[in-house]
Symmetry: C2
Subunit: 222 residues, 2 copies
């Protein structure tokens, strides 16, 4: 029996989980607002947090156990899923720390975008988003740190850290559902670019995105 992931039809916080399941050959149903008419009702009915519940939600093959909190779900899948014979959440404590810290750093980089969702005026929202990528601004600051950290990744073993970093940078690449992101924001980060191409060319990742036209940012860069 497969897993089921409940999330919006965009990449965002659901995508690292989808990739971890894919890399680990764990079959899953990808339930979204586009292919499920009762999405909103199911979310509330299934979430461990009830009315306050958010997605993503992961329903385990027993069809009863439901996990929430995107990064907690990712860590869980990382312990169940293996790639090249090793779990995506490393068993060695220091290696696990390195993967955990990469998740936290990529999240520090992504999080400033949240404040822009509440801006109602479209032009104002796009300007606020573009400003986050200017030198020294909140997202640019963490992109520089992420670039340095990814330079230390041997790029040999897949883990939840490099999955999350790959997805959070790609969240801002074109085509993205986030209006206002400068299309060339990532070009100057050499390690991020190198890391992207290593990861996007992993056979399972490449195959996963091959036919997805709305996920061009997740494919190998030209």
């Amino acid at each position: 029996m497969p897993y089921e992931l409940l999330y919006f039809s965009v990449s965002a916080l659901g995508e690292p989980i989808r990739l971890a399941l894919t890399l680990g050959d764990l079959e899953f149903t990808n339930t979204t607002t586009k292919n499920c008419e009762t999405f909103a009702e199911r979310k509330v009915a299934l979430s461990p947090y009830g009315d306050a519940g958010q997605v993503p939600l992961l329903i385990l093959p027993d069809k009863k156990t439901v996990l929430c909190q995107s990064r907690s779900i990712l860590r869980y899948v990382g312990k169940i899923a293996t790639h090249d014979g090793a779990p995506l959440y490393p068993t060695d404590p220091y290696a696990a720390y390195a993967a955990d810290a990469l998740v936290d750093l990529a999240e520090d980089m992504r999080a400033p975008i949240n404040a822009t969702f509440a801006i109602e005026d479209q032009a104002e929202k796009e300007a606020a988003r573009a400003a986050l990528f200017e030198p020294g601004a909140k997202i640019a600051k963490w992109l520089a740190v992420l670039d340095a950290q990814l330079g230390k990744d041997p790029m040999t073993a897949v883990n939840i850290g490099n999955i999350y970093a790959f997805c959070m940078v790609n969240l801002f690449r074109q085509p993205t559902f986030l209006d206002g992101i400068p299309p060339d924001f990532a070009v100057k980060y050499e390690n991020i670019t190198k890391h992207h191409n290593w990861f996007a060319n992993l056979p399972k990742v490449k195959a996963y995105y091959a036919a997805k036209e709305d996920r061009d940012g997740f494919k190998p860069l030209a």
Copy 2:
């Protein structure tokens, strides 16, 4: 050789790590802005992120390896430290998920306070903080969810989840360095109160706070 934790002299994001080390009988030097004149320079020199580095930082007994990212450090210590014969980061994937999700939930509850640090006017800052605890407001909303989740904790095994939840609620209890928090904000949450008293009465926790007058909020409630 002991561990060394570099953090401000307040509880906040350093406290879960201090408690995990204490519960695991791992000796550590508690370096703070109050007892280290070169704190700012050491922070930059030691941080894996360099100039962009933040505290807490944990220096391992080899005196060379430095960990950053508070919750990643906590997860690392949780794998090294045992209490009652079990690691503070559970080895079973689902138990680890439950602990991870409790960390994430307690962090969701704490995080809205961050936006108030930038408010310069003291009265305005205190009002903004108090407003976060009003019914339905950002912190109150997550406190209600946390209350429900802690009601599901059997309160038998210590893990990074209940350590983090304990510390993040206590961060807001009196005396706190955060001006403007309603002193009685937690009274109405029965499970949080029950959980607090279970945790605060653990012999090692009780002994740790016994002589600390600025940590009354971490002691058993009267």
